[in-house]
């Protein structure tokens, strides 16, 4: 064995050792994919450490003829180390479902766990996570739009940067890896400065432009966390739209993981 061959073998071994299995996929990313992923990772990191928050949501549902209907909800969200957030929604309006509560344990690597509390029977029901693409309370928001998407559940591709208002936006296409998602792809506009999402276009499984979400009224909480105050979702196929308004944000209040259990769900109201 010559010295050159030995050197080659050692170099190969070092290269192999430097690429653990989990990195193999990352190696194959194109520059645009890598950049798209980078933006998503960076955006997630800026959201890390919020701990928990509570807020109120008002949904104004409008149909093609302009008829309106209101939804009022209270939301509690808690960050989980190493996994998706836990979210609890309690309905105040419409009144016939007042006290109905919905608990989601989001996961990065598998389907979410979901429970529904029906106050009339005082019954907690574990429900399947197959309803991700279904309408949330008759609104234009699907269940999968109601919780922040996990970075791991998409692949990414950076498309371009372009001006958006006074800001510059970086435009990334993301494709859900989850078959249960109702979307084939989403195009996301984030400003380059704070990586706030300003617009999302949703394409259905047949690749038709299904919905557009516009976000506005951003406010910074705890000097770090940007939250939109208003989200407008328009369905281009049906002409219906939903305006989701967030108010009364309280970050890092006295929430406990026990508030996100089935017992917590039963007393949520």
């Amino acid at each position: 064995m010559t010295l050159a061959l030995l050197r080659g073998a050692i170099a190969a071994a070092i290269v192999a050792a430097a690429i653990p299995g989990s990195d193999a996929a990352a190696q194959e990313l194109t520059a645009a994919e890598q950049k798209g992923l980078d933006i998503a990772l960076e955006a997630r990191e800026r959201r890390l450490g919020f701990g928990n928050f509570t807020a109120r949501q008002n949904m104004l549902l409008r149909n093609k003829r302009g008829q309106e209907s209101q939804r009022e909800l209270r939301v509690k969200v808690m960050e989980v180390d190493g996994d998706g957030d836990m979210s609890l929604f309690v309905f105040d309006e419409p009144r016939d479902v007042q006290g109905t509560a919905f608990l989601i344990h989001a996961h990065k690597d598998k389907g979410d766990d979901q429970w529904l509390y029906l106050p009339a029977l005082k019954r907690v029901k574990r429900i399947s996570s197959g309803n991700r693409s279904g309408s949330f309370m008759g609104s234009e928001f699907a269940y999968e739009d109601m919780t922040p998407p996990e970075v791991e559940k998409f692949t990414y591709r950076h498309l371009r940067d372009e001006p958006c208002g006074e800001l510059t936006c970086t435009v990334v296409e993301r494709n859900p890896t989850d078959e249960r998602s109702g979307y084939s792809r989403q195009t996301v506009w984030r400003d380059t400065e704070e990586l706030r999402i300003w617009k999302v276009e949703y394409f259905d499984r047949k690749n038709a432009h299904l919905k557009t979400l516009n976000l506005d009224g951003y406010e910074r909480h705890l000097d770090r966390f940007w939250q939109a105050g208003q989200m407008d979702m328009v369905n281009h196929l049906t002409g219906k739209s939903t305006t989701l308004t967030w108010t009364d944000y309280v970050f890092q209040g006295e929430l406990d993981a026990g508030d996100f259990t089935q017992a917590g769900l039963r007393r949520a109201r």
């Binding site: 190696q27 209101q70 180390d81 009144r95 008759g138 007393r267």
Partner: protein, 552 residues
């Protein structure tokens, strides 16, 4: 309240001072941080990227490890810079076709998931950074700052009116008008066929600042025909307390409450805490309030619930003008109990439940007075026959489980009960179960609608001696949810006897008319019942019902 504002600010600054290293206190100090040029799974890629950026910009760079949810990323960063300088660098980078972001340095917090490794062996790291804490700019003499208002550190409880002691005082509820039409002629003398009436269900909820609460939910039904169906009940009147204990949480409820156990749709065998309010609906799903002392502990290993039930509620039965009854009336004035303590016998119940991934399991036990009475005929003074309810002492062990998959569910409820008389009046211990599955077709025909089909097999080993209609029956149902603004739902079900001929069909349509008004239509058709069936005496009592509800 300027004074309390100042106090709160002082506390915020103090709290932050304890959690992080020293930080600037000047109101004008801009935040500092690092410029990020990308994060990579592969350290080699990060190194190459760092080389490229160094060449392009001629700045000092480092690769640091960042752990995000157990995945280590290699991040190309600048040294710590004041924000203004960092912004200039980002602009310069952009001009040279290099993307970069500014990351505000973060004060270390115990619950922050980001974990920046300060010294990697090969790479000199720019960390740790001086940490301008989130609210560092809010100095005490500044006017109220939004960022500070957002920090909820519950420190000062202002001394104000008593209403401020409570987080919430809610009065909600519903009022319904209902009418039933029994469209077949009566089976027993005295029955009437078109009862109408209303239901009032207000609810008062008071929650104090700690989250402890009191709930009051009275119930009242007026029925135009049957005075036994005109009834009031206290569904809920309890105080709720909870808190942390060890790694978990405790919760206690004292007063009158309802507790639901079970997973299936047809017949919740394990559900035994509350008495059935039979005059409400023959489906036995309406329950009366139950006085109880309830304690639960919710730990990592599951939830343990204990019930002390100091008072027995009698089952309700229709009166003389009512349909859905035996030829003889049940007279609750001549009730008897096996226990000498009668209705004051203290029943006990316990349930352990836990989620194991896809599987939710509950194991329960009950010891005490049966919710189901044994009815024996008595001859009264006027030679009329009435049924006397007798409540025995029973023991019940229960198991309920559900496996939840993407679009389908598998469900089981099973009990073993002893101490109760069978249909022949002999004490007989028995096992009974309901086994079923549920499948949902989401987004049917490319609409928002879901269709769920479910099948459950209800089995009672007593067979013909069973005291329930679910002796050996198949329950088939389909639920259509339009997922529309009105929340329209249609439920159609069939209960089919397998040992003998019995067929009961039900259909239920419900939805909102407006945000406050909703409507419900129901039809129950007793198509065929053979003389052995528990429901035989009610075989003429098919009905349709219309209800209009106002919720407030």
């Amino acid at each position: 309240m300027p004074h309390s504002q100042v106090r709160r600010l002082a506390v915020v600054v103090l709290a932050l001072g304890l959690t992080g290293p020293a930080f600037g206190t000047s109101a004008d100090t801009a935040s500092s941080g690092v410029v990020v040029f990308g994060s990579y799974l592969n350290p080699g890629t990060a190194e190459r990227q760092a080389e490229v950026v160094r060449e392009r910009l001629g700045v000092a760079l480092a690769v640091t490890e960042v752990r995000i949810d157990d995945v280590v990323y290699h991040r190309v960063v600048s040294e710590a810079l004041p924000e203004a300088v960092a912004r200039q660098m980002i602009e310069r980078a952009a001009q040279r076709g290099q993307d970069a972001w500014f990351a505000v340095a973060q004060a270390p917090r115990s619950d922050v998931v980001v974990d920046v490794a300060p010294d990697s062996p090969e790479q000199p790291s720019p960390e740790p950074l001086p940490a301008p804490a989130p609210a560092a700019r809010a100095v005490p003499d500044e006017p109220a700052d939004r960022a500070v208002d957002d920090i909820a550190i519950p420190i000062d409880i202002p001394e104000t009116a008593w209403t401020d002691r409570f987080n919430r005082i809610d009065l909600t509820g519903s009022l319904s008008a209902q009418t039933r039409l029994f469209y077949r002629r009566i089976g027993h003398a005295g029955q009437r066929s078109r009862p109408s009436g209303f239901v009032a269900m207000p609810q008062l909820y008071v929650e104090d600042r700690t989250g402890w609460s009191f709930t009051l939910s009275p119930f009242y039904r007026f029925d135009s025909d049957d005075p036994e169906r005109t009834h009031a009940d206290l569904h809920e009147a309890y105080a709720l307390f909870f808190g942390s204990l060890g790694d978990g949480q405790w919760e206690t409820r004292l007063g009158v409450d309802r507790a639901f156990w079970g997973v299936v749709e047809s017949n919740n065998l394990v559900d035994i805490v509350n008495q059935v309010d039979l005059v409400e609906h023959p489906d036995e799903k309406s329950k009366l309030g139950q006085p109880m002392a309830y304690f639960a502990y919710i730990g990592n290993w599951g939830t343990m619930e204990l019930f002390g039930l100091p008072y027995h509620r009698q089952r309700t039965f229709p009166g003389y003008p009512g349909r859905l009854r035996f030829p003889w009336l049940v007279d609750d004035e001549i009730v008897t109990y096996e226990s000498g303590q009668e209705e004051r016998h203290v029943d006990v119940a316990a349930r352990y439940s836990h989620t194991f991934g896809l599987l939710d399991i509950g194991i329960s036990a009950f010891q005490g007075t049966s919710r189901e009475p044994f009815l024996s005929p008595r001859i009264g003074v006027g030679n009329e026959i009435t049924l006397a309810p007798h409540y025995e002492q029973i023991q019940q062990a229960g198991l309920d489980g559900q496996a939840t998959f993407d679009t389908w569910l598998l469900k089981l409820e099973a009990i073993y009960r002893s101490g109760m008389s069978n249909r022949l009046g002999e004490e007989e211990a028995y096992a009974s179960f309901v086994l079923g599955g549920e499948y949902t077709f989401h987004g049917l025909l490319e609409t928002a609608a879901d269709v769920t089909v479910l099948a459950e097999w209800c089995y009672d080993e007593r067979g013909i001696r069973a005291t329930t209609k679910f002796d050996n029956d198949l329950f088939l149902a389909t639920r259509l949810s339009l997922n529309d603004v009105q929340g329209t739902e249609l439920l159609i079900s069939a209960l089919l006897g397998t040992d003998h001929d019995s067929r009961v069909l039900t259909a239920e349509l419900s939805g909102r008319l407006t945000d406050r008004w909703s409507v419900r239509l129901e039809a129950v058709a007793l198509l065929e019942l053979d003389p052995w069936d528990v429901l035989y005496e009610t075989r003429r009592d098919s009905f349709v019902e219309v209800g209009l509800t106002y919720s407030f």
